[in-house]
């Protein structure tokens, strides 16, 4: 992808909105195109988290591996979604597996490069951190709702036996 195509893609994406040209250029400097075939592993739990992905098209399953049960998909991500936040926080290792479900194209943002820029420019660091906090919070909320068992147990009040 050309620099201008990447530039306009980032500008239009809500995740990068209002970062300003200067910071978008910084981020663009850490970006590269990647492609995964259907069924290909994007990353595995425990591996070094080298950055994050913006999915351009395709689908990725975020999975947990449980011995005896196998892989359980806990979330699917689609075009426009951000995949991966473990690159931002020590120990910089993936907490889950991720696997492409279809042919998937994405932009990969290099974590080491971005972290260096965050440290050099705390304002940039804050803007990145606050955006990733939203990613983490929305994942946390998703997990909480899954725990609540939204459709199974009913809590509509007790019938009285009078």
């Amino acid at each position: 992808m050309s620099i201008t195509a990447l530039d306009s893609l980032l500008k239009e994406h809500p995740f990068f909105a209002e970062l300003g040209d200067e910071y978008l250029e910084l981020i663009g400097g850490c970006a590269s195109n990647v492609k995964f075939a259907a069924g290909e592993q994007v990353f595995r739990e425990g591996q070094d988290a080298k950055g994050f992905y913006l999915i351009r098209y395709g689908r990725v399953a975020v999975e947990l591996f449980a011995p005896g049960t196998g892989s359980i998909t806990i979330q699917t991500l689609h075009e426009g979604d951000i995949l991966g936040w473990s690159w931002l926080l020590p120990p910089f290792r993936w907490h889950h597996d991720a696997k492409a479900l279809d042919l998937t194209r994405a932009i990969h943002f290099d974590g080491t490069c971005l972290r260096k820029k965050c440290e050099e420019d705390p304002r940039f660091g804050y803007l990145i951190m606050s955006r990733f906090s939203q990613v983490i919070v929305s994942r946390l909320q998703g997990a909480q709702l899954q725990l609540l068992d939204l459709y199974g147990k009913t809590d509509h009040g007790k019938p009285e036996n009078d």
């Binding site: 399953a61 049960t69 196998g70 892989s71 359980i72 998909t73 806990i74 979330q75 699917t76 689609h78 426009g80 479900l101 998703g142 709702l145 899954q146 609540l148 068992d149 939204l150 459709y151 199974g152 147990k153 009913t154 809590d155 509509h156 009040g157 007790k158 019938p159 009285e160």
Partner: protein, 288 residues
């Protein structure tokens, strides 16, 4: 008020709304591990079976008791009466264990309807969780029978897992239609599921409807509806355009006994379908 207890209380149509009318179980089909769809036929073949989408019957398992159950069949074909029942206790368990040919009692239909005609010329989004697809299905049939009157029609359905879904084949058929956008999600999945994973609220931000011209109809457990309405409002759907079916337990179904009081409303006579502004403050209330 006492539930009827004996077969002698089964009544003829048009009589006392407190007396059940006899129906024969024509067929019973298992939907998932704890849910069955019962097809019923009136013993008195000439009685009226008309109903509106969203209405429910009081279904009486002889000798066990009576429970409110929404009608899950097509209101444009009222002669084919279906109830989809999740076995959670004595009465629902008794109903789900019935064999074709056995007799049960029905009172109804009771309650108000999904306001499908309010959505004419607007986009319409149905959001269902678990067994909540059953009370919405008649409204979906109604809309499909006059499809041209609506804008985009979106069905968002969430279930715990692929095996917990109801009406799976029908969802697949609907998904094949060009004039319907059907999205199904499960909470978690193993290798045999290739669809979306995440709770139903995660489908709302990207679903294809115009929030400023949308009517939403939501049905599922209360906790699911609470989070769903938040996501719909966040997306920009007006509270007045969001309708919910409240299924708190009830007994008499005609507004006498107060069992199903929900804030100032009685679910049986004022509902079960309410617009969000009417029930909003009770949705977040822990005890009503």
């Amino acid at each position: 008020m006492e539930s009827p207890k004996t077969t002698e209380t089964l009544a003829s149509p048009g009589l006392d709304p407190m007396l059940p009318r006899p129906f024969v179980l024509k067929s019973i089909e298992q939907e998932n591990v704890d849910t069955w769809t019962l097809e019923l036929e009136a013993v008195d073949a000439d009685g009226d079976l008309a109903f509106e989408p969203g209405q429910f019957n009081m279904v009486y398992r002889l000798g066990v008791g009576e429970v409110p159950i929404s009608i899950s069949s097509d209101p444009t074909r009222p002669e084919r009466l279906l109830h989809t029942i999740r076995s959670v206790g004595a009465v629902t368990g008794g109903l789900c264990a019935m064999k074709p040919g056995e007799i049960l009692g029905l009172r109804g239909p009771f309650g108000n309807a999904w306001p499908v005609s309010l959505a004419h010329d607007s986009d319409l989004v149905f959001v269902a969780g678990g067994i909540g697809l059953a009370p919405l299905r008649p409204a979906i049939y109604q809309v499909l029978s006059e499809r041209r009157r609506y804008g985009r029609v979106v069905i968002l359905y969430g279930a715990r897992s692929a095996g917990d879904m109801i009406f799976a084949e029908e969802l697949e058929t609907w998904r094949g239609r060009f004039d319907l956008d059907v999205q199904v999600t499960v909470d978690h999945a193993t290798g045999d599921w290739f669809g979306h994973v995440g709770v139903v609220t995660t489908l709302i931000p990207r679903a294809g409807f115009d929030p400023t011209h949308t009517v939403a109809m939501v049905c599922g457990p209360e906790v699911m509806m609470r989070f769903t309405v938040r996501s719909l409002v966040d997306r920009g759907v007006a509270s007045e355009g969001i309708y919910l079916s409240m299924e708190r337990n009830m007994k008499c179904a005609v507004g006498f006994c107060g069992h199903c009081q929900f804030g100032p409303s009685f679910i049986c006579k004022d509902g079960p379908v309410f617009s969000l502004p009417r029930v909003e403050r009770w949705l977040d209330t822990r005890e009503v």
